[in-house]
């Protein structure tokens, strides 16, 4: 299984979750995903390309996303990533795990 090089400031595994969530709404290119995460998180989540592209490849290898070449908004060739059916299941699973984790951490911190 692919070894991850996730952004050090993220919880392990969260990057995959975020990417799956992003491409789950509509197909997006790599730059788009980075911008999306950055905008929605008010510049908190700055995903480096060195983490983003290996992560995308890993998701592709696992069959959770597929890629397709298409034209970008400024008419350049760009690779668009799309969530697959198994990817959607994986997203649900990871989301579940993440929620449980957050609840658990929250419980510990508020104890």
């Amino acid at each position: 299984m692919g070894r991850a090089h996730p952004a050090p400031d993220l919880l392990p595994g969260t990057l995959d979750l975020l990417i799956l969530q992003a491409v789950g709404r509509e197909s997006m290119h790599g730059y788009g995903i980075a911008q999306y995460l950055k905008t929605l998180s008010n510049d908190v989540l700055q995903v480096g390309e060195g983490s983003l592209y290996p992560a995308l490849q890993r998701l592709m290898l696992n069959g959770w996303v597929t890629a397709e070449w298409g034209a970008s908004e400024n008419n350049r060739r760009a690779r668009y990533y799309k969530l697959t059916a198994t990817g959607r299941k994986q997203l649900a699973r990871e989301r579940d795990q993440f929620d449980r984790m957050v609840v658990a951490i929250h419980k510990v911190l508020t104890a």
Binding site: R3, H5, E49, Y53, R79
Partner: protein
């Protein structure tokens, strides 16, 4: 996932280019954003690049995702497997040895097939070698005759002058020569060849010179011969003074002009002596050159030409010649000279191939089952380890891969060792097969053998390792069963039963098959020929080479036969041409039925006593009269065997019918005699045509004697009598039994060849069935303990265990019988067995043997378990 990974490795460059473009796009977008934010253009580009970081590092990381971690895991697995092997060396070596037997035998069989069948048997430059076969149809006036697939003199000359796709065209014909030395005469395999034969395939010359065109220019002239290195070594002990020496070859004196290095195209044997084809018997040159096909035509491709081109061109040349013979069509087939490509082999070869390789694969499967049991026993013990690993977070697929790596590594090791075996063994076998004649078949390990062995390794590794791997992983974490108890999860009874059934079925099929082959070889070695082969003596008296004519020979035998008759112990003396099992001469009886090419028959001259000596009965008509046995008659009186009589169109009123033979002679049937076996030991003769001894040259006849008493004494007396009549004559009489033994020597070799794997199969199947059953019982040790603790008596426990075995054993037997039936059918198709049915004591015996082994394997641990103190058994858990 694996597929995707392999896909990536194949399409690596494309995917890397994609990534490059993608990163480029990302950089461009970042630059545009920065510009939009008001950063100057030049700074924006730098900034964008900085934001992206090291592109090469990124693509390295991406590549890691695809390949590296995978490779790392594989290396880890291999290291782990090696450590495991070192920790239990007995198990590893037991598995290794078993697998080497399985894979090795397979590789040897395949390599031998590959070497003998699929490769052109040409020492030098096999790539340019071509072998031709001719097929003649529509020859209405039946003027064409000779050996099917051979070429005529006319065809040879046409190929030589007109074929531009060939750089050399050669002709050859195998012949058995009798070399006479000072004391004894021996027979050697030799070849009549065209004069470019040596330069095309053999050479360089070790001594003297090869043939020059002049040696082949006129029929009959100059009597010269060249020895091959093999012939020089085996017959003349590498005598350096051989060149220039004259030796007697059949009836002719020839001068040895040179010795050439070995090399023979398209044949697994090496000719010992080569003679220009123009010196072949005059009968080959009597007919017009377009009629008689007797030459083996082969050649070398011209540079840059292909066999297909040669095929096309030779067919055009042959078709042009056909114009002179209306209705006749000659088709030419060009091959690379491999035995498997030979037209007469094409049909008989496939069942043999399927049979041998199929049996070998079955053997491999059986070996794998043995290994499976070995590994299963360990798998049970390793459940603990696997449970720990699973709870530490290893995925099942990851562990599966690791476990399979172990068995594949063992199989790989066995494969490498097997290649060594496959490299050396076929050579020794070939030497064994060929006896003292050298074999030109090459057994180099080419890509076919390597590929086949590699396939075997994969099959063996997976077949042997998959079940144990599943077994190791059959652990449920957090379930009811205690994951750390070694007997917590029991091997399912289905798996156990399946292994037993499989082992029994394969063992039975192999044992029965081997048994049938060995038994029918026995029939060939000691065939029932209708009379006691030990009580008939044969003496070949070579009067022809001393220049005797028929009448001189007649006078000679008039004196010899009464003398032999008076010898003590001799009952009947007969004369014949071609004594039993010493060769065959085929002829065709021309019938008036249109559309048939004549009825084939073995031709033999025989005196009336011959039939009494060899136990042949007169069915109807009469035997030859004394006068017919002495002088030629026209038409020639002949006797036909019952088989031949049935094949003739005349029906049952055949006595008195007239026919003509292939050589044009008219014959009249005077009687019908019973069938016999006199050509190939263990086989009926089909049609035999007996002509009177008066119709042939008696100088080429042999003497047959029915006798009682010691053959050695009689042989000496016969030798003395013959030398007394003509001191120049040397005879070495032998019994027909000796002839059969000599002729069936190659079958004896086959017996040896089959016997070695057969012993292995018996051993492996007994051990295997024992192992599988014992393992199945051992799995229930815990249960036995509990039952006896609860008061079950030993007899009941043993009964219980036997009862559990009934379905696997029945299924195994049924499957085994089915497989044996298929095998038996293939054996018969491949002509390897003389009619034996499955209702054979051997088949029953082997089934019984296997069942006893299984019973023993159940009984011993069952009794031990039943008698053991229950607390001891349970404490072990």
């Amino acid at each position: 996932m694996l597929l995707r990974r392999v896909w990536f490795i194949i399409r690596r460059h494309k995917l890397e280019a994609d990534l490059e473009e993608e990163l480029d796009f990302h950089r461009e977008m970042t630059r545009q954003r920065l510009e939009a934010d008001g950063v100057p253009t030049s700074d924006a580009a730098v900034e964008a690049r900085r934001a992206l970081g090291n592109t090469i590092a990124v693509s390295e990381h991406v590549r890691d995702v695809w390949i590296w971690s995978w490779l790392q895991d594989a290396v880890q697995d291999i290291r782990y497997a090696v450590r495991q092997g070192r920790r239990s060396p007995q198990l590893a070596s037991a598995v290794l040895v078993t697998l080497v037997i399985g894979i090795g035998l397979n590789a040897v069989a395949f390599s031998a097939f590959n070497g003998i069948l699929f490769r052109a048997q040409v020492t030098r430059d096999p790539a340019s070698f071509v072998q031709t076969y001719s097929f003649v149809t529509g020859d209405r006036d039946r003027q064409w005759h000779g050996t099917p697939t051979k070429g005529t003199l006319q065809l040879y000359q046409a190929f030589r002058t007109d074929a531009h796709t060939l750089s050399a065209v050669t002709a050859g014909k195998w012949e058995t020569f009798r070399i006479r030395d000072a004391e004894f005469s021996t027979t050697v395999r030799g070849k009549f060849v065209s004069c470019n034969y040596i330069s095309a395939y053999m050479g360089p010359m070790l001594l003297g010179r090869g043939f020059i065109e002049n040696d082949c220019s006129t029929a009959g002239g100059p009597p010269v011969a060249v020895l091959s290195e093999t012939g020089w070594t085996t017959r003349f002990k590498r005598d350096p003074a051989i060149v220039g020496r004259t030796m007697q070859l059949d009836n002719q004196f020839v001068t040895v002009i040179g010795v050439t290095a070995d090399g023979a195209p398209g044949e697994p044997q090496m000719p010992h002596v080569l003679v220009p084809y123009t010196q072949a018997s005059p009968e080959y040159f009597r007919d017009p050159p377009s009629r008689h096909a007797w030459l083996d035509l082969s050649g070398r491709l011209a540079p840059g030409k292909s066999r297909d081109q040669a095929n096309a061109e030779l067919n055009v040349i042959a078709a042009a010649l056909d114009h002179q013979h209306p209705g006749r069509t000659t088709k030419i087939l060009v091959t690379n000279g491999a035995l498997a490509a030979e037209p007469r082999n094409a049909r008989g070869m496939r069942p043999l191939l399927v049979l041998v390789l199929g049996a070998m694969l079955l053997l491999l499967l059986m070996v794998c089952t043995n290994v499976t049991t070995l590994l299963l026993a360990r798998a049970a013990a390793r459940r603990h380890e696997m449970a720990v690993r699973l709870s530490l977070g290893a995925t099942r697929s990851r562990l599966m891969r690791q476990l399979l790596t172990e068995s594949l590594l063992l199989a790989f090791g066995a494969g490498v060792l097997s290649l060594g075996v496959a490299y050396y063994l076929p050579r020794s076998i070939a030497q064994l097969l060929a006896g003292n004649t050298s074999v030109t078949a090459s057994f180099a390990l080419d890509w076919r053998v390597l590929g086949y062995t590699w396939g075997l390794v994969m099959i063996a590794g997976c077949a042997a390792g998959l079940t144990p791997a599943f077994e190791s992983l059959r652990t449920r974490l957090g379930g009811r069963a205690h994951p750390l108890s070694s007997s917590g999860a029991q091997t399912t009874s289905f798996l156990r039963g399946g292994l037993i059934a499989e082992q029994l079925a394969i063992s039975l099929a192999l044992l029965v098959g081997m048994g049938l082959v060995l038994r029918s070889k026995d029939d060939i070695l000691k065939p029932d020929i209708g009379y006691d082969a030990n009580a008939v003596l044969v003496a070949n008296i070579d009067l022809a080479s001393l220049g005797y004519s028929h009448y001189n020979a007649l006078a000679f035998y008039d004196r010899l036969v009464p003398r032999l008759q008076r010898l003590p112990g001799v009952k009947t003396v007969a004369l014949c041409s071609l004594p039993p099992f010493q060769g065959q001469r085929l002829t065709h009886i021309t019938t008036n039925v249109t559309g048939t090419s004549g009825v084939p028959a073995h031709l033999r001259a025989a005196s009336p006593e011959y039939f009494a000596v060899t136990g042949i009965r007169l069915v109807r008509g009469r035997l030859f009269s004394a006068a017919e046995s002495r002088f030629p008659r026209s038409p020639t009186p002949v006797l036909v065997s019952e088989f031949l009589a049935r094949a003739l169109p005349s029906g049952s009123n055949d006595v008195g019918q007239r026919f003509s033979l292939a050589d044009g002679r008219a014959v009249q049937i005077i009687g019908v005699v019973s069938d016999t076996s006199s050509v190939r030991p263990g086989e009926g003769d089909n049609g035999v045509l007996y002509q009177s001894t008066g119709a042939t040259n008696l100088a080429t006849a042999s003497v047959l004697m029915r006798f009682t008493g010691d053959p050695q004494t009689l042989m000496s007396m016969v030798r003395l009598e013959v030398r007394d009549l003509d001191p120049q004559l040397f005879v070495s009489p032998e019994t027909v039994a000796t002839t059969i033994a000599r002729e069936s020597e190659r079958y004896a070799v086959v017996v040896k060849l089959v016997a070695i794997p057969a012993c292995l199969v018996v051993f492996l199947s007994l051990v295997g069935i024992y192992g599988v059953t014992a393992f199945a019982v051992a799995q229930r040790r815990h249960e036995i303990g509990v039952r006896s603790a609860l008061g079950a008596r030993p007899r009941e426990i043993v009964g219980l265990l036997f009862l559990a075995l009934r379905w696997p054993l029945l299924a195994g037997l049924a499957l085994g019988i089915l497989l044996s039936a298929v095998g038996n059918r293939l054996l018969q198709q491949a002509n390897l067995v003389t009619d034996v049915t499955l209702a054979d004591p051997w088949a029953y015996g082997s089934a019984l043997l296997l069942l006893i082994s299984a019973a023993g394997a159940t009984l011993i641990p069952a009794l031990r378990g039943a008698h053991a103190e229950p607390w001891l058994v349970l404490r072990n858990d």
